[in-house]
């Protein structure tokens, strides 16, 4: 498969948040400021890429080999949880400045369904080898960060707008997300 196609499809056409509804919780949770959105996006790129590579190898060389595919869910989530811990410890030691920037987002990532979702999608898509899966993971994570950052930018402006009483806060955020999703649907022509 063409890598370019995988990248464009994962970032724009099949955006994890706006088309697949993965990682919607952090999408609303940490999208109040562009700065935090960027931090979260960075942390997700990091974890999603490593998690997809590791789970891919585990799936191919352990689960498939021994015919225990039914252990997939439990294995994947444990791998992701431990990876997040590991990344946290390593970052703390190796790069305190990066840890400062991403640290508080890391624990939130364990329950970010985008990470588990992309890992499962990568191993269950026909024709995805290790290279394709890795590219797919990076592109999906970038798509996640992109949607998050755009959305945060809009929400910053939204605070200053005169929104009808009942729609203030969460409801208008959802409607905005819907309109954003509508805009992203326009990309489907590319494929």
């Amino acid at each position: 498969m063409e890598y370019v196609l995988i990248i464009i499809s994962a970032i724009f056409v099949n955006n994890v948040i706006l088309a697949k509804f993965l990682g919607v919780c952090p999408f609303f949770g940490v999208s109040k400021k562009v700065e935090t959105a960027l931090g979260m996006g960075g942390a997700v790129v990091f974890v999603m890429t490593i998690a997809t590579i590791v789970t891919y190898l585990i799936q191919k060389y352990i689960l498939d080999k021994f015919g225990i595919q039914y252990m997939q869910t439990i294995t994947f989530i444990l791998i992701i949880a431990s990876l997040v811990q590991l990344v946290e410890i390593i970052l703390k030691k190796m790069s305190p400045s990066l840890y400062q920037a991403l640290g508080i987002f890391l624990p939130l990532i364990t329950t970010n369904c985008a990470v588990l979702g992309v890992a499962i999608l990568a191993v269950s898509t026909d024709g995805f080898g290790l290279m394709e899966s890795t590219v797919y993971a990076i592109a999906s994570a970038i798509g996640f960060g992109l949607a998050l950052t755009i959305f945060a930018g809009i929400r910053e402006q939204l605070d200053m707008m005169d929104v009808p009483e009942g729609m203030k806060g969460v409801p208008i955020a959802f409607v905005t997300a819907g309109i954003l999703a509508l805009a992203f649907m326009g990309f489907s022509g590319i494929a």
Binding site: V13, N14, Y70, M71, T125, S188
Partner: protein, 198 residues
Amino acid sequence: MAAKKESTFINMVVVLLIVSTVAATTLAFVYQATKGPIEQAKLKKQKNAIKKVVADFDNNPIAENFKVAIAEGDTLECYPAKKGDKLVGLAVKTYTKKGFSGKIWLMVGYNPDGSINNISVLEHKETPGLGDKMEKAKSDWSNKFNGLIPEFKGDEPVNIKVTKDGGVIDAITATTISSRAFCDAVNRSFIAFKNSQK
């Protein structure tokens, strides 16, 4: 309430080990118990799909399935439908990668003369409300193919194409990509049908 176990290293390892072992054993049991039904559900789905697309038969097409190569390294599975000893139709399980998102899997049923008897959709990830009109449950669009005999000019299909591309199939409204992919899958299945006759 009993006092919490302390977080000593031994305690932590032992507890996690026990929890994981119990979980893995339980899952192994559930897996064993559901393995049969899962297989049967799959077979039943396939059998129903075959029944829908070919004429009445009394053999077991799944047991008699064979693979036909349609290109280098590209094979499709075929299921012959027989009544008595007479071949009454051939169901071809076919797919295309040209869909909007992911593969589209079809079961295409042929009459012995090569005309399409009926088509059923096995699996697809096309857009709900648009591309999914290829399913019989959503619209009767796929009936347009019934009775047609796919024709080719060299490797190029002649008739099984959307009208935009010079074929005879009216695409589903606003869904040219899915419709094109559907035609592609059908044409691929016909090559399998033709090669199976050799």
